[in-house]
């Protein structure tokens, strides 16, 4: 219960002020009764639950009293924090259903003298720095201020224990971590940056969209074309963070190179594996439809057909991994059909899918990885419930992954399972793979 102090010392006034939420005590009966009610209702607990957890009282000359977890701290050069300013609503992670699955804390810095310091910051628990684009839980309180003894115009953040965290601006492209020397303390001219603590909507990693603006989620089974194929990190950073380390973790070997290793270390196909390649040899020799690589597992079938109308169809058996590398798929409605039974994984590497109707049909719980090459063109993806689709861009010079996107129509709780599927695909040892041209 809230305690009324018989002697109103300064400390007790501060305590009472804290109990009602850092608001100055009222001067009339009704206001005082309201504040008593608030104090009682909150049980005398000075800390309200998030987002109001942690507050400060501004004093004169830039000093402030910080309250956190029942302790008070005196700060100097305090800068007010507007909890509503700078709220960035452009965040557009989106599931196919548009469902928000949760929230995470982050801070939004805006108005800094150095514009590059603006942005969303997350606490990197490994380095202790506030960095952009990495998601870690935040302490419940933060503050930005100029720090005494340091050059004017340099700003710092502190958590509730007043541990200072410098926040950094990226001085040049290509430096992604604060450990790199190119990062600098954010500095600049007045005004001081505004720092806002927000709860960032946490959507499931991406989805497919039915419009080129990526505002309308695709419905289950809807065909989407190249315009709806995600291409920008700023909309899919969550998938980036999740997928990229998975692909890079294979003994440091870039994914594309690793796949290449698979293809060049292929053993003979076991006699029990039934593979039918019905592609017209004349067309193969012409160079237009060559370099199709298919992997199957014992006891299941894979069949490739090229029709008189230039349609190539790949059928898989149940739960079959498929790798298709290089080449240009012909126009006229080529189809990659992942099995309607079982859970398939398919890997399409480089090359160009047909610009006039290559379709990738998937039933549920399949995986499709698209690495490099041209866009889907005029074709489309037919994802289904539970499918996961990854698109990976790589640097042609050094074959390192520069972009990775993950799309899925599966519930967020199953994302990890889907990533396991991808990991299995990339670790497939090629024992049963072969290729023909």
């Amino acid at each position: 219960m809230f305690n009324l102090f018989p002697v109103a010392s300064d400390a007790k006034v501060i305590g009472a002020t804290a109990a009602i939420g850092a608001r100055a005590m009222g001067q009339e009966e009704v206001t005082l009764l309201k504040q008593i009610l608030v104090a009682i209702a909150n049980g005398g607990e000075p800390n309200p639950p998030y987002p109001g957890d942690g507050f400060y009282i501004l004093l004169e000359d830039g000093y402030a009293i910080l309250q956190e977890d029942g302790f008070f701290f005196l700060l100097e050069d305090a800068v007010p924090i507007d909890p509503l300013a700078g709220l960035d609503l452009s965040f557009r992670h989106q599931t196919n259903s548009g469902e928000i699955t949760g929230y995470r804390d982050c801070i939004v810095v805006s108005g800094a003298g150095t514009e590059a310091a603006n942005g969303r910051y997350y606490l990197d628990s490994d380095t202790g720095y506030w960095t952009q684009g990495i998601s870690y839980p935040l302490p419940r309180f933060f503050m930005v201020s100029q720090r005494s003894g340091f050059p004017a115009g340099q700003w710092w953040l502190a958590n509730g224990a007043l541990d200072p965290f410098w926040f950094y601006t990226q001085s040049s492209a290509g430096h992604d971590t604060p450990a790199e020397a190119a990062w600098e303390i954010a500095s600049g001219d007045a005004p001081a940056p505004t720092v806002t603590l927000i709860q960032e909507p946490q959507y499931a990693p991406v989805g497919l969209f039915s419009d080129s603006a990526w505002t309308t989620p695709a419905t289950i089974g809807q065909q989407v074309g190249s315009a709806q194929f995600p291409e920008r990190n700023d909309k899919y950073s969550e998938a980036n963070v999740t997928l990229q380390p998975t692909l890079r973790s294979r003994s440091g070997v870039p994914a594309l190179e690793y796949v290449s290793d698979i293809l060049t270390s292929v053993a003979a196909v076991p006699a029990s594996t039934a593979i039918s390649i019905l592609t017209d040899p004349a067309d193969v020799s012409g160079g237009s439809y060559r370099a199709i690589v298919i992997g199957g597992i014992v006891g299941f079938n894979i069949r490739i057909e090229r029709s008189a109308t230039n349609q190539i169809t790949v059928y898989t058996g149940a739960s079959t991994p498929v790798i298709i590398a290089g080449g240009v798929w012909p126009a006229g409605g080529s189809v990659i059909t992942l099995s309607r039974t079982g859970n398939d994984v398919a890997l399409y590497i480089n090359g160009t899918l047909s610009a006039s109707g290559t379709l990738i049909e998937m039933d549920d719980w399949d995986g499709f990885v698209y690495i490099g090459g041209a866009d889907i063109g005029g074709g489309g993806l037919y994802p289904w419930d539970g499918d996961i689709i990854a698109a990976i861009g790589y640097d042609a010079a050094d074959r390192t992954i520069v972009e990775a996107y993950l799309m899925t129509l599966m519930p967020p709780v199953l994302i990890a399972t889907a990533l396991t599927y991808l990991d299995q695909l990339l670790t497939y040892n090629g024992e049963y793979l072969t290729y023909a041209n």
């Binding site: 939420g21 608001r23 009704v30 009764l33 608030v38 109001g52 501004l58």
Partner: protein, 73 residues
């Protein structure tokens, strides 16, 4: 001393949630709500906390009830 209002807004919201109604604008209403909040904080209904007596309607009686609650809850 300039106070920062944000946390207070959260507490006002929490208070309204606890008493199940917006915070009142009049003294009598506020006193009733204080009685209600104290009783709820103590895990009781106001009637139970006040020994079977309903929440009063006048300031003096409400202050008496508050005194009882302060002493007993």
């Amino acid at each position: 001393m300039e106070a920062y209002p944000f946390a207070s807004d959260a507490k006002v919201a929490a208070t309204s949630a606890l008493i199940g109604q917006p915070i009142g604008q009049q003294e009598v209403t506020l006193l009733k709500q204080i009685v209600l909040a104290m009783a709820l904080r103590a895990g009781q209904t106001p009637e139970v906390a006040l020994g079977g007596t309903p929440i009063a309607q006048t300031e003096v009686l409400l202050l008496q009830q508050l005194l009882v609650l302060v002493a007993t809850t």
